[in-house]
Symmetry: C2
Subunit: 153 residues, 2 copies
DNA sequence: TATTGTTATACTCTATAACTATA
DNA sequence: TATAGTTATAGAGTATAACAATA
């Protein structure tokens, strides 16, 4: 009981976040945004947002991948991918080629410039992820990624 | 070298996602979106999006908290919080009261209806998080949350 | 002078409907 | 009839600038 004040007009000196911090969704979102924030700053020099980087990287590692396959893999809507691919193409990083089997589709391929940029970008990504995960040991980081996959895969 | 095809026109049967899946940022974002997707569906009955839930819950657990404190805690911009608080107030879930010390600020308080709704919503959140984390053991879930905090705190 | 809360507003991100060309 | 890619467009989310009231 003690000397309880009349609840009415309390002031909060330090916000009690204990409840929300028990939630997986809350923590996953906060961590995700923390990484993205650093990503945006560090990768600005390459003019690559997280989604651009994912798209370009998947094209590099999957020569001939189609837009449809990119959408399925990354959970994007086709109309929202068009602009991304157009921009990457205009920058000379990728090119559309006729699909060898399906006349409706285009195979997406990285250009030499695209492969060169992505190589640098992937190195930068590794560095920034090391920085973001500085409070985690190598083992903890592997564990974290393994457990995250169990949530969304 | 085997029978390598002229790289030019390959088709991708299965997308190779091994590289992006090594990235903490990629996995954190995918997991976050997976939880949010379920959250939106299950909490629609309470008309609470993740951000509404976080705001309302923090008000319940911190009677008299100010908008400014909510913004700092959740990483929101003040102009974007105004509408959220207005909506919660119009729904009769919270109320603004004059701040006991600072005449510029309002103390935010949950109404009886607000506390009642949040009690139900927090129960529903616990259930949906159990479902989302069904592939994780209780220990793994605790570990996951602990490691996520190491990323953003 | 600095801060809280607010309005107005712009920008980005995401979603839906509908069209074309091909399967 | 179904699917890949695209266009147009609407909606949601997030950002900055500027103002009144108070510290």
């Amino acid at each position: 009981m003690s000397t309880a004040s009349p609840t009415q007009t309390a002031t909060i000196d330090e916000v009690d976040t204990r409840y929300v911090e028990t939630l997986l969704g809350y923590n996953a979102r906060r961590a995700s945004l923390a990484v993205i924030e650093v990503f945006l700053k560090r990768m600005a020099v390459y003019k690559l947002r997280p989604v651009d980087f994912s798209v370009a990287s998947l094209i590099v590692h999957n020569p001939g991948i189609t837009s449809r396959q990119l959408c399925s893999t990354l959970g994007l809507r086709p109309p929202n991918l068009v602009g991304l691919v157009n921009t990457l193409e205009k920058r000379g990083l990728i090119c559309r080629r006729p699909h060898p089997i399906d006349g409706r589709a285009n195979g997406l391929h990285a250009t030499a410039a695209g492969m060169s940029l992505l190589k640098k970008a992937e190195t930068a990504a590794a560095v920034l992820e090391d920085d973001v995960a500085v409070r985690l040991t190598a083992t903890e980081r592997k564990t974290l990624i393994r457990l995250l996959k169990k949530v969304y895969l």
